[in-house]
Symmetry: D2
Subunit: 290 residues, 4 copies
């Protein structure tokens, strides 16, 4: 729901140990700055000694101060409570890079939604280990970088990708069915900033060929999982999952094709929540203020 974002809309995400007075302090600070809270969502894991999570959307008074002043002033409140926090200017488009291999459905879903203004992001580049989708990506006016991953030369390929990502000042990385396992170096370089779509309902069917495994097991639903990437394969914090109903008539190949619809939906939703600052990672889980 990004179609009309006011210039003076801010977003605040806060996580901390629960303690009295947090909401009052935050809201009083915003009020003092002349800001109006237009949406807020808060959740405490446990009233006794639990974690406190909050997301606020506010419109600040541009006549009185700038976004940076609001943000700067908030540091004092944050320090008092030892917040883990971030404040974002909603209108700023986050810069997203898409990694893709041969299957294009997730890539195209993101490009469509971007072109239709459903995804309020910039896509400075697409990176692929194959050249297949160069023409299509470029038809959207987006530069395409073909970085082949040759046997034994993965490190070089990743190095090139990391350079490109830094060069383009990227906010987050989306693996849109990028069929390469990333090294710990890569993952740690962009910790909590890489979103992957796994083509199963995790934790079922971790690893390769989940549709073949689903076929073997005879499941009646297939799923997809969008998650942040960590060093443990398919074990990172889950952002979104979805499923569809199948039956005995589906071959392994049918599952693979049908599953595309679930994958692209789950991934697009996760990307939307991420770029709208709706997701807080806590340990190996997410709080999603959707």
């Amino acid at each position: 729901m990004t179609h009309l974002i006011p210039d003076n809309r801010g977003r605040l995400l806060v996580a901390c140990s629960d303690q009295p007075g947090i909401v009052a302090s935050i809201s009083s600070y915003l009020q003092q700055q002349g800001a109006n809270i237009v949406q807020s969502d808060q959740y405490t894991t446990d009233p006794e000694g639990g974690m406190f999570f909050m997301r606020i959307e506010f419109d600040w008074s541009t006549e009185r101060n700038s976004f940076l002043e609001i943000k700067e002033g908030f540091k004092k409140v944050a320090a008092d409570f030892q917040f883990d926090w971030r404040m974002e200017q909603a209108v700023r488009k986050k810069r997203m890079v898409i990694f893709v291999s041969k299957e294009s459905h997730c890539l195209l879903e993101l490009l469509w939604k971007w072109k239709a203004n459903e995804l309020h992001v910039e896509i400075p580049l697409v990176i692929s280990n194959h050249a297949d989708h160069q023409k299509e990506v470029e038809s959207y006016g987006i530069p395409f970088h073909h970085i082949p991953v040759e046997k034994g030369k993965k490190q070089e390929a990743e190095k090139r990708a990391i350079e490109l990502i830094k060069e383009h000042d990227i906010d987050f990385v989306v693996l849109a069915r990028y069929m390469q396992i990333l090294s710990p170096t890569f993952v740690q370089t962009f910790a909590h900033k890489i979103i992957n779509i796994h083509h199963s309902f995790l934790p079922a069917f971790i690893g390769a060929n989940p549709y073949a495994k689903a076929f073997e097991r005879g499941v009646k639903l297939i799923g997809a999982t969008a998650h942040y990437v960590t060093d443990d394969l398919d074990e990172g914090p889950i952002i979104e999952q979805d499923i569809m109903r199948v039956n005995h008539r589906y071959s392994s190949e049918d599952l693979r094709i049908a599953g595309r619809n679930v994958e692209r939906v789950a991934l697009a939703r996760a990307v939307m929540w991420h770029h709208e600052d709706r997701v807080i990672i806590h340990g190996n889980k997410t709080v999603v203020f959707s």
Copy 2:
């Protein structure tokens, strides 16, 4: 999610014209009372001159004050901003009366969930225009009142029902497939306190025999709608809707039977949200902080 409600948990629902400082004032007040906000959800229809809605769950400090003191003290804040508001003690069980006719699935769903402590309510009585379910209701230890609605004597029947409801100090009324149309007098006596389940996906198939109509139209999904009752039949504020997939093999009777599953699920969810103070009625719509 009512299985463990602390004695000192309060709930606050607020609706008003949006204006600066609302959240700050509410949260400051609660903090001054030593209360801790454990969950909050807020929504503004439109940053410019829109409506402000908020739901807060808080734990107050029983050593410092009582619920009534918290509530009493809040009146000043409420007056400043001209809130339409209510504050509830979460642990207090709302008193619910169920009206039923011959079909028992919605009644039984509510009784089950009540017995399994999923519905944190009291059910002082069940009222029916038929005697069919007397034994079953009484096996739950709940008094059953058979109030037949004879032709031309509807007014008397309603009068008796109103008396019973007042006598038992009922908080809200659930029409669990009660197949009688209530008079404006009855509806206005319990305005915004009557929840009905309509056996279609409103506004499709308003009125009688929705499954027969759905069969005639050849729909591929059937639905159910839980809504507050107003004078306009099937036009009140919708609380919850759900659907299920059907196909050409379903006869009108099959739809009716299959639909029971959707009806009871949608109704139970609406009742839960209502008794957990998650619903604010605004005009002919609801804000549901689920």
Copy 3:
């Protein structure tokens, strides 16, 4: 599930009054031709004097006869029972024309699925009353015809469209959010061959602006309906419907944008079932052997 269609796969659709011996006669005929039934689905509305519907997929023996011989020979069986029937060679791609206005999501969904070999059709042309999507359509190698519908000149526009459709030997027409009402002449020219996507859960919100109406009514689910077009606006036989959950936070515009996902899914499924010969129209309903 069209990714691998054998050259000798046939499909038979049959509708008739129920009577003894239909299945035996059909299957005996196919066996005599050396054909092997690989899938069949049958349904009788009512064992006593009802309608009989059947769909069969079979592989015929190419060494013994051609598709035309199989089809020709079947006429006798069909005459005996007064079948309303059709037999199709599965491998033959049906020729589909897409009509579109300004919103491209349904168009693009179909083009994608077509390019990904999920839709086993030919798309000889796309017709639009606006020029907006010319470049995109042509990038798929598909001719784009811009036929403006000027005030008072609708008849001419339709005439041009009909000519094009006949010229290109089109099997069926898809209205992918084509925002023009077609004349009875057009509808009757392609009776039972025009699929439309309506952006509501019919019969709710018939006519224009369903999302605005859904917003006004405060529904908790929005839907889309794919149906065959008849002279009665939004009243034709429903092929497929789907829904998604929404809440009070959705503005009318949010509903419109979110609804795109439901529309394209429901339409794509209907188109797939139609081109795979899975749909039999009976009166104002469909039998879908999905």
Copy 4:
């Protein structure tokens, strides 16, 4: 869809290696007996050397022969093609025993549907290792057998259960959240006749405490799986699965409570399909003609 079953309705389930002429032979046989096929569904795994599965509902001519004659006569057809088959008289109610422990939601779902004539079965007894639900079960007029499973005396308990099952001529066993692992002896005694509900979306969260595991993993959907019991825990052929959406607000206990709704729905659907002879087990999978 069992509300009106004609006395002369038969059901035929067939599995065999695919070969030409199967459908013709079956349908010709039925026609010769004066039977009318009212529904049929067929599926072949692979046109080349695959498996053939078929389900037929037919109405036989009671004036000409009895069910036993129809069945007896079919043996010749079956022998010709080496069918694995069974023929059932639809009106005969299968005899079902329910095993339950402390959680009653699945038990009650089945009892309700049975009482509402949605489940066309007989329930000669309920067996439990706890006495908790005795009164409730008996209020339905169903004998309740309390067979405690004491440490080290499991074998005796099972022996008693097996005796009861045989005594009551039971067709199939439903484990409605029966929290005991059955011995290989028990499982093999009723091979392919025991349906279990597992409270997760298998193969995710095999074994004990799936909701605690789901909470730990931070999944966004929880599920339930109805499957036939084999010696491998939670590895038997899946009949039905369903899911519901959850979020970060759900504690492990909340998941457990919410999951009840999914469990009872998935189990009830599996039981319905089983007793309506809609399920064929093939290897470790099921073909469900729903």
